[in-house]
C-alpha cells in the first residue's frame, strides 16, 4: 500500500529527515539524532509535524449525546475551549482508541484520534450515531504541528495576540496565529515539556511552519521526529495506542480509571463497572531498570524465581535519565510501587523496580 503524505512531506525531506512508514503515512522519524531532538524539547523548543493524526468534527443537538455514549470520560463537564483526554471502549473489555475531545462550542466538538485508527474509529463511532449527529472527517484537510518544550511559550508569543503564558493546560483558543485566521491553539501535547498543538488548514501549513521557525530562531527551535516523540511520551508514562493499550486491554488495567467515569452510561460501562468492583488481574505499571539493560516492547517480566508475571509494552533507554525505563502489564500483586521485578533481555533476567509515573517530573 502506498504511504499517505502529510502536506509538508517534501519539506521534511528537504530538511534531511529520515522518513519511515508509520500508521500508513510517510513520516519524519528524525532530522538529526533521537537524543539531540529529545533534549531540544526538554530544554528548549521543538516542532513535530503530526499531521497524520485524525480529526473528526461532531456537530448538532445530538453531538454531546453521541460523544457521551462512545467515550469513557464525561464530556458533559467540558465548557467552550476545554479539552479532555478520553477513550473509546469496545464491547469486549478493550479499547478502540484513545483520543482528545475538544468542545468548540455548544453542539460542536472536535475529536482527535490516532492516525492508525482513523478508519476504524470513524466506523466505530458511526455505528452509534443513530440520532443524526453530523460527523465530518477533516483529517485529510488538517495539519497539526506540536510546538513543545520549556521555551515554547516564549518562542511562539510573537505569532499571536492571545497570551500564551495565560493558557491553562488542556484548554484551547481559536485565534489568528502566524497571520492565519482560525488556528486552533491548544495547550496540549504528548511530551510533558509544555507547549502547544496547532491545528491548521493544509493550505496554510507551510506558512505557519515557516513562521514558527522564524519566530523560534532565537530559541534554537528544531524540527523533531517521531523517534523523540516516543521517548518523550514514555518518560511521561503516556500510553501509546498499539503498545500500552489496544483492543484487548481494559482502561482500568491501563490505569485509565481517571478517564473512566461511571456517572454515565457508555459502551461496555456495565462490565467495566463490575471489573472495577471486582478488581483487575493485571495492571499497567512504570518501571526503571536497576541492572543495566534496555527493556523493549514484548519482553517478558518475571519474578525473582523466574515465574512469568507479565510483559513489557513500551521500553527504551531514557535520554534524560540515561537508564532503561519502560511500562509493562504485571499481575496486580506485583504492581505496587517499589516492588522488585525482572525483565528478560536475551534470555537473561535483569532487575528492575516498579516506580510511580511519570519517570520525569514536570
Amino acid at each position: 500500500m502506498e504511504l499517505k503524505k502529510v502536506a509538508l512531506n517534501d519539506l521534511h525531506a528537504k530538511l534531511g529527515a529520515k522518513m519511515i512508514g508509520f500508521a500508513g503515512f510517510n513520516m519524519p522519524v528524525r532530522y538529526s539524532t533521537d537524543t539531540e531532538e529529545h533534549l531540544a524539547v526538554r530544554n528548549g523548543v521543538g516542532v513535530f509535524d503530526v499531521s497524520h493524526m485524525g480529526e473528526f468534527m461532531i456537530k448538532g443537538e445530538k453531538a454531546l449525546d453521541l460523544i457521551q455514549r462512545v467515550t469513557s470520560n464525561d464530556a458533559s463537564v467540558l465548557t467552550d475551549g476545554k479539552v479532555q483526554y478520553s477513550c473509546l471502549p469496545n464491547q469486549k473489555g478493550g479499547i478502540v482508541d484513545d483520543l482528545l475531545v475538544y468542545r468548540i462550542k455548544e453542539n460542536e466538538y472536535m475529536l482527535v484520534v490516532n492516525a492508525s485508527n482513523i478508519d476504524k474509529d470513524w466506523a466505530w463511532i458511526s455505528q452509534f450515531n443513530n440520532e443524526g449527529a453530523e460527523m465530518i472527517d477533516i483529517s485529510n484537510k488538517t495539519s497539526l504541528f506540536a510546538v513543545q518544550g520549556a521555551k515554547a511559550v516564549e518562542a511562539m508569543q510573537s505569532l499571536t495576540e492571545i497570551s500564551l503564558a495565560d493558557m491553562k493546560y488542556y484548554t484551547f483558543q481559536i485565534a489568528k496565529f502566524a497571520g492565519v485566521e482560525n488556528v486552533v491553539i491548544s495547550a496540549t501535547g504528548y511530551t510533558g515539556a509544555g507547549g502547544f498543538e496547532l491545528y491548521v488548514p493544509n493550505e496554510s501549513a507551510e506558512i505557519v511552519w515557516n513562521k514558527i521557525f522564524e519566530a523560534g530562531k532565537n530559541f534554537d527551535i528544531k524540527p523533531i521526529g517521531l523517534g523523540a516523540r516516543d521517548t518523550l511520551r514514555l518518560e511521561m508514562g503516556y500510553c501509546l495506542y498499539g503498545n500500552d493499550i489496544d483492543d484487548q486491554t481494559s482502561p482500568l488495567e491501563a490505569n485509565l480509571g481517571w478517564i473512566t467515569k461511571f456517572t454515565k452510561n457508555f459502551t461496555n460501562s456495565e462490565n467495566l463497572r463490575k471489573q472495577k468492583e471486582k478488581g483487575v488481574e493485571k495492571l499497567l505499571i512504570g518501571f526503571e531498570m536497576i541492572e543495566k539493560a534496555i527493556p523493549r516492547s514484548h519482553y517478558a517480566v518475571v519474578d525473582s524465581e523466574g515465574n512469568s508475571i507479565g510483559q513489557v509494552t513500551s521500553g527504551t533507554q531514557s535520554p534524560l535519565l540515561k537508564k532503561g525505563i519502560g511500562m509493562a502489564y504485571v499481575k496486580t500483586d506485583f504492581a505496587k510501587v517499589g516492588n522488585e521485578i525482572f525483565v528478560v533481555v536475551r534470555d537473561k533476567a535483569f532487575k528492575a523496580q516498579v516506580i510511580k509515573l511519570p519517570f520525569v517530573k514536570k
Binding site: 522519524v29 539524532t33 533521537d34 537524543t35 516516543d230 534496555i294 523493549r296 533507554q317 535520554p319 536475551r346
Partner: protein, 126 residues
C-alpha cells in the same frame, strides 16, 4: 557515508579488517546511521568460537535493537571495552574507535569471500 576501501563487508552491515590472523570487526557507517543513537553494545561471546553468521552480540540504539553477526568463522578474542562507557563511539567513529571485537579467524581464505567496498557501496545504494 564512508565506505573505506581497505575493509571487507557483509550484507548484514558489518566490516572486517584483517591484520595477520586477527580481524577487527565493527558495524558500518550505514548501519550506525540506520540505527540512530547507540546506547548499549552487549557482547557476551568473548572466548567463544563461532561460525560465520552466528550472533556475537547485540547493539541497542534508543529506538531499536540489532543483532551482530560474525562475518567469518573465528574465536572472539576481545571486546572493545571503551564501548561499555562510550557506546556513542559507534556513531561517531564506526571504523575506528567504534570497533567491536577482535577475532582469531579460523580460515583466512574465507575473508576473501566477503564483500569489497564497491560491492558494499552498491548494496547500500539500493
Amino acid at each position: 557515508m564512508q565506505i573505506p576501501e581497505n575493509l571487507k563487508y557483509t550484507s548484514d552491515h558489518e566490516w572486517l579488517l584483517l591484520e595477520g590472523e586477527v580481524a577487527t570487526v565493527g558495524v558500518t557507517d550505514f548501519a550506525q546511521g540506520e540505527l540512530g543513537d547507540i546506547v548499549y553494545v552487549d557482547i557476551t561471546k568473548v572466548g567463544e568460537t563461532l561460525k560465520a553468521g552466528e550472533v556475537f552480540g547485540t547493539v541497542e540504539a534508543v529506538k531499536t535493537v540489532s543483532d551482530l553477526f560474525l562475518p567469518v568463522d573465528g574465536k572472539i578474542l576481545e571486546f572493545n571495552e571503551e564501548l561499555a562507557n562510550s557506546p556513542e563511539l559507534v556513531n561517531s567513529d564506526p571504523y575506528g574507535k567504534g570497533w567491536m571485537v577482535k577475532i582469531a579467524v579460523s580460515d583466512l581464505a574465507t575473508v576473501a569471500t566477503l564483500l569489497s567496498s564497491e560491492a558494499y557501496a552498491s548494496l547500500t545504494a539500493r
